[in-house]
Symmetry: C4
Subunit: 219 residues, 4 copies
C-alpha cells in the first residue's frame, strides 16, 4: 500500500455528506417527475366561455393522469428512505473511513442512483418479469454491497469502540431478512408480477411504519 | 423492538443534512423552471436587419411571458422557506433521533417534494376549487406531520434538556394558527378562488416579513 | 415578539448548509445545460461509410455550437462563486442566527436562484439594453440584500466576538466598490451593450484572479 | 491585500460542503440520464392483446437501448469518484482556507461540472480523436488545478500541522502517475481511439478496485 492510499479518503463526515447530497437529489427528482399535463392549463382555454369558472374536469383529468405516477414516486421514496437509514446506521458504527471503504460506499451510491431508473422501468412494464428482475437485481446489489462494506470495515479495523459484535449481527440479520423477503416476493412472479410488486410495496411500507405488532416489528 | 431498530438512524445531524439537500434542490429547481422562451433569441433573427440593435420587443415579450411564473416561483419559495424554518426549529429542540422520528421526518420531506407540483397545478388552474384543495391538502398534511413529529419526540424522550414545555406549546400554537388561517382562506373559495389564493400569499409574505405591528407579528 | 419567533431558526450551520446546497445545484445545472447537439452522434451515420473513421467535422460542429454557451456558463459560475464567497464570509462573522436574518438570507438565496435565468436572458439577447438591465437588477438586488443582512446582524447582536467594526467596514466597502463598478459598466450600454458585458466579465475574472498588482487587487 | 481579502472565505468546512453538493448533483444527474425509451410502455399497447402478458420483447429492447449509456454512466461515476477522493484527501491536509485557495478550488469544481459533458461527447463520437482530446483536456486540467492548489496551500501556510512533506510528495506522485498514464493512453489514439478509451476505463477501474497485486496497487 502506498502512502497515498494510507492518507486518502479518511473523512467519514465527508462521505456522509456526499451520501446525503446524492439521496436528496435522487428523492427530489423522483417526485419532480410529476408534471401537470401540458396543454390543459386554463390560459389555453377561453376564460369567459360558458361554465369555465366551475369547470373542474381538466383538473380531474390531470390528477387521474398523475395518480399512478404518484404511487410509484412514493414506492421509490420509501425504497430510498430505507436504504438511507441503512447506510446512515452503518456509517455511525465506524469512526473513520479509508480509501477502500469509500470506494465500496461509492459503489453503493451508484446503485442508489439506479433506483429511479429501475422503478420507472417497472412502472412502464408492470407485467414484465424481466423488469421485475432488473428492479430486484438493484435491491439485491445494494444489500450485497452493504454486507461487503460491513465485512470490510470489521476486517480493516474501522469500527468505533462503541460498536459491539451484536450490532454487526443485528445489521447482518436485518439485511438478510429483508433480502429474503424480496427474493420470496420475486419468486412468486410466475403467478403474477402484480402479486410480487404488491408484496414488495407492502414490505417497504411495513418497514417504514414498523407497527408494534409481532412479527411485523421485526423488519 | 429489535436491536437493529435501537441502533438505526440515531444521527440528527445527518437528518438535517438530508433535509437541507432536499429543500435546496426543490428551491433551485422551482426557480430554474423559468425559461427564456425558445425561438426568440437574437441569433435566430438577422443581426443586421434594420432596427435590430434597438429592438427590445422580443425581450419584453420574453419577460411578460415569464412574469406570472415568476410570482408562482416566489410563492413556492416562500412556502418552502417557511417549512424549512419550521423543521429546523423542531430538530433543534431534540438532541437525538431514532428510527421512527426519522421515518416521520422522511414523510414530511415527501410532502415538501410535492410542494412544486401542487404549486404548478394551482398556477395552471387558478380558478379551480379542486386545484386549491390539492394545494391546501399538501399544506395541511405538512402541518399534521410536524405535529406528529413533535408529539412522538416528546413521548420517546428525544427532546434536548434545554427544551421546556413552553417551547412545545409555542410551536404547536404557531402551527395551529397558521393552519387555521390557511383553512379560513380556503373556506372562502366559493366566493372566489383568487381571493383564497391572494390570502394565502398575503399570509406567507407576512410570515416572511413578520412586521413589528400587532397582530401581524404573531404569525 | 412571540416565543416561537425567539426559538425559531437559530442554527447558523443549517443556514450555511442550505446555502451550499442551493449554490451547488445552481452551479452544476448551469454547466449541465451544455449539450452535445442531438442527431449528429456517430451511431446516426453509417460506421462503414468512406472516411467515417477520420471524419472530425461533426465534432468540430458540436464544439463550435457549444462554444458561446461555454463562455456564458463560465460567467455564471464566476458570478455564483463570487457571491458564494461573499455570503460565506458574512456568515462567518456571526455566531448565531435568528428568524429575521434567516429570512433575509433566504431572500438572498432567491436572488441566487435567479442568476442562471438572468444569465441565459443576456446570452439570448446580448444586444438588448433591457436584458442587461434585468441582469444588473439581479446583481444590485443581491448586493443590497447582503448590506441589509449585515446591518440587521449588527443591530440584532448576532455578530461573533471576534468580529470588529473594521471587518464590517471592509465588507461594506467591498460590496460598494463592486456595485459601483457594475453600475459604471451598465451606464456605458448606450454606447454598446457588448462593452458593458465585456466590462462585467472582466470585473468578475479580476475578482477571481485578484492579481497582486495595484489597483486590481482591491476588488 | 485588503482587509476583505484577509477575512474572506476562511471556512474549509463550507468549501468541502459545496464540493460534496456539486459532486452529488453531477453524479446523480449522470445516472438519471438513463431513460426508459418513451412510447413503449405497456399502457400504450392493448393490455388484452394476445400474448401481452408474457411479451418481454419491449423490455429487452429498452434494456439494450440503455446498455451503452449505462457503461458511460459508470465511467463518468468512476471518474467523479476518483476526483472526489482526491480533493477530499487534499482538503484534509489543510486546516484553513483563504480566498485564493477557494477560487482555485472553485475552478477545480468548474472542471468537475464539465465531466458529464466531456463524457457524453466521447460517447457520441467514440471514433473521434478530437472528442478524445477534449475529454483528456478536462482530465489534464483537473490534475493541473489539483497541483496548483497543493502548491498554493504550501506557500500560503494553509497546511495542517499533521501534514508532513512526505504527504505532499505522495499526492504529487499520485497525480503525476495517473496523468502520465492518461497521456500514454491518449498518445495511442492514432492506432485506435477505442484502444485509448479502453485503457482509460481500465485505469479508472483499477484505481477504484486497487487490487493488492504489484504494480496495480500503485495507482
Amino acid at each position: 500500500m502506498t502512502r497515498y492510499h494510507r492518507i486518502a479518503a479518511q473523512d467519514l463526515g465527508r462521505l456522509g455528506a456526499l451520501s446525503d447530497g446524492i439521496f436528496a437529489v435522487a428523492m427530489t427528482l423522483l417526485v419532480l417527475d410529476l408534471h401537470v399535463p401540458a396543454g390543459e392549463a386554463w390560459h389555453e382555454r377561453s376564460l369567459w366561455s360558458a361554465g369555465a369558472v366551475s369547470d373542474e374536469q381538466p383538473v380531474w383529468h390531470a390528477l387521474t393522469h398523475v395518480g399512478p405516477q404518484f404511487l410509484i414516486c412514493l414506492l421509490g421514496f420509501l425504497t430510498l428512505g430505507m436504504f438511507w437509514i441503512g447506510q446512515q446506521t452503518q456509517l455511525n458504527l465506524m469512526d473513520r473511513a479509508d480509501r477502500s471503504l469509500t470506494w465500496i460506499h461509492l459503489m453503493f451510491l451508484f446503485g442508489i442512483c439506479l433506483v429511479p431508473f429501475a422503478t420507472a422501468l417497472l412502472a412502464a412494464f408492470p407485467q414484465s418479469r424481466l423488469a421485475l428482475l432488473v428492479y430486484w437485481a438493484d435491491l439485491l446489489y445494494l444489500g450485497l454491497v452493504q454486507l461487503a462494506a460491513l465485512r470490510y470495515a470489521r476486517r480493516a479495523g474501522l469500527l468505533a469502540e462503541h460498536t459491539g459484535p451484536e450490532d454487526l449481527t443485528a445489521i447482518r440479520r436485518r439485511i438478510g431478512i429483508v433480502q429474503l423477503l424480496y427474493a420470496a416476493a420475486v419468486v412468486l412472479c410466475p403467478i403474477s408480477t402484480y402479486l410480487s410488486i404488491g408484496l414488495i410495496i407492502a414490505l417497504q411500507v411495513n418497514s417504514a411504519v414498523s407497527p408494534p405488532i409481532h412479527p411485523f416489528d421485526r423488519f
